[in-house]
Symmetry: C2
Subunit: 344 residues, 2 copies
DNA sequence: TAGTCGAATGTAAACGATTACATTTTTGTA
DNA sequence: TACAAAAATGTAATCGTTTACATTCGACTA
């Protein structure tokens, strides 16, 4: 379509051109070719040109497997994610991917299902030199189980982290963020505030529950146990079911804080299917600020995490670690923000 | 937590144990160790045990970079996706990932933004032996631009494909599927049926438009040009805007077919913000059947694609190609299905 | 013009596996 | 017991780079 390129002389398909072939063709040694390719300054311009010409006509491309063997790095990074379908992780992935690629690394997305066994097999890739390092987003319980056998491997924690662990991490202050969210509901006059929480194998779940608890007790309210539902997944259906359960209480909450936008969006659907209007009958606040949160009916008020930046920082920490294995683990806390919309 | 492992004797951290070290330790040659590790039958059980014991005590793990150089395969597959945030692709990825891993391959997710230049840089990874093959989900226009320079590389098309191209592919019959969707609306009595289509650089967009056209003309209706909106992206906001535009017509459609669930869900939001009720004021049918489609208000009627199976089949085709580069390109068409819900 | 010293280039040894091919051991048979 | 054949193991080349070290080339000085 764009432009005819039929008569452009193309290099032959050339199934396998080695650096030796280039050297022969340019009448130099392989060392010189390598130096040119790696941009070393010691090469005379004339030879450099000759080499580049040979590269061009032969259609040479470096064999990265060979290079990697020699330099002892695979330039592959693992990202261990409990659920690749969750949009929260998708956005973090974007941040990871962009920074990684800037530094010449490829990223492999690993679906762990938050399972220790599967995590172990993924970590094994590091031992087999298949990858140089890993970014782990799995529950802290899983991370603890891993830490023992994998202390000498290069990995960092992202979004989910235990400050007590000797591993670099980046995340937000979950307890404070949750407290902010619930306080916002309190300011709007709500007194009965439910919590849709997820599996408490997650440290962030325990922390956010704490924040919910903090805000309520500070307001002189005693949190009731039946205001709090723990789901076993983060999908829309789980949020839907949890909301249904909350609204079936004798004195149902007038507001609900969900620890994830996917749960919150499911909760919206659940409330609606019972004929409730939002935020009139029940207000909802989510957590994460995924793209979809602005498109729901009504748009979702939520705690915004800097997802992209979480990913970017995680890679940075990992590359720092790779560059200097001796340094003490770095810790980064990023700021959160309340995204005010119509659902609360 | 689970069980104390403190007193289990663990292999030393052992930063870099080579096959030679194992051979020395077991009093055999490297060849024998290699044979044991690769499960060859010629090894005497006694020696096998000795080798395995050495492997155990030394904590040896094969260095896959070295193995890959020798065997001339990287065991890495590329998946070229125009937009990793789109849940449709996320589900396909799952299918790809599971089959790939079953065969010992890792998968790298590549965000191309449907851009030819970026595609080219990704394909370059194949030339540099960084990856063995690729699965491309980009627009057929992009694929055509690629086909010329990359004919000798191993890649297949998935979901988006041009039957005329000499590349293996898997997908569905888009034209027929769209026709089915619109026919369903016709059966419900609709006569003015709008189309929210995406950028027609996509062949599937042109095909689905054809299907919409087919169904209408078969019913004796002349499709009007202003019933058809082309968006420039697939996100929720684009669907929202398109619906707003359609409902502003003098005689607005009573039903809308969107070529993607994300567009359809955005369209739901757009209709609602104008005070329209669905399906009473305007019916909506989507395409793909992503997980979210069942959780919208009302749940979305949509054309279900076998996303997971699309991914699984794509890998299968690619591995077949890798195994035998001579064979003619295989073509697979998978069945679609209408998922009937409340939005139409 | 010989000698010195950088700069430019070449030689060859890694990296850590796989695998023809050669060699040794074992087994079976006469 | 000796010998052939089969089974088990060993030796060393190879994959395609990078890079320490050795060598050659030129320009400049005395």
């Amino acid at each position: 379509m764009s432009e005819p390129r039929a008569n452009l002389p193309r290099p032959a398909p050339a199934p396998s051109v080695s650096i030796a072939a280039v050297a022969r063709h340019a009448n130099v040694s392989v060392a010189t070719v390598s130096r040119v390719l790696n941009g070393q300054q010691v090469v005379k311009p004339a030879t450099r040109d000759a080499v580049m010409a040979a590269v061009q006509t032969l259609g040479y491309r470096v064999n990265e497997m060979a290079r990697n063997l020699r330099t002892a790095e695979s330039r592959l990074l693992l990202v261990l994610v409990p659920d690749v379908g969750n949009p929260f992780y998708a956005e973090i992935m974007r941040g990871i991917d962009s920074v990684a690629r800037q530094h010449g690394y490829l990223v492999v997305l690993c679906d762990t299902g938050a399972d220790v066994e599967r995590e172990h097999t993924w970590f094994d890739l590091l031992r087999r030199r298949r990858a140089d390092g890993a970014i782990c987003l799995d529950p802290d319980t899983v991370q603890h189980a891993l830490a023992h056998d994998n202390a000498h491997l290069a990995w960092v924690a992202c979004a989910e982290f235990d400050p007590a662990m000797a591993v670099p991490y980046v995340g937000i202050d979950n307890r404070l963020a949750a407290r902010d969210a619930v306080q916002h509901l309190l300011e709007r006059g709500h007194r009965r505030i439910g919590l849709i929480n997820t599996d408490e194998t997650w440290l962030y779940a325990r922390q956010r529950k704490q924040g919910w608890h903090d805000a309520l007790t500070e307001a002189g309210i005693t949190p009731r146990a039946d205001w709090c539902i723990n789901t076993h997944s983060l999908d829309y259906a789980a949020g839907n079911a949890a909301m249904t359960q909350l609204l079936a209480l004798a004195a149902p909450p007038t507001a609900v804080f969900a620890v994830s936008d996917t749960l919150a969006i499911g909760a919206l659907a659940g409330a609606r299917s019972l004929g409730k209007r939002i935020p009139h009958d029940v207000a909802v606040v989510g957590f994460d600020d995924i793209a979809l949160a602005a498109q729901t009916d009504p748009p979702l008020t939520t705690v915004a995490q800097p997802m992209r930046q979480l990913g970017e920082t995680a890679v940075q920490l990992l590359l720092d670690l790779l560059a200097d294995r001796g340094r003490p683990p770095a810790h980064v806390l990023l700021p959160h923000r309340l995204a005010l919309r119509a659902s609360a």
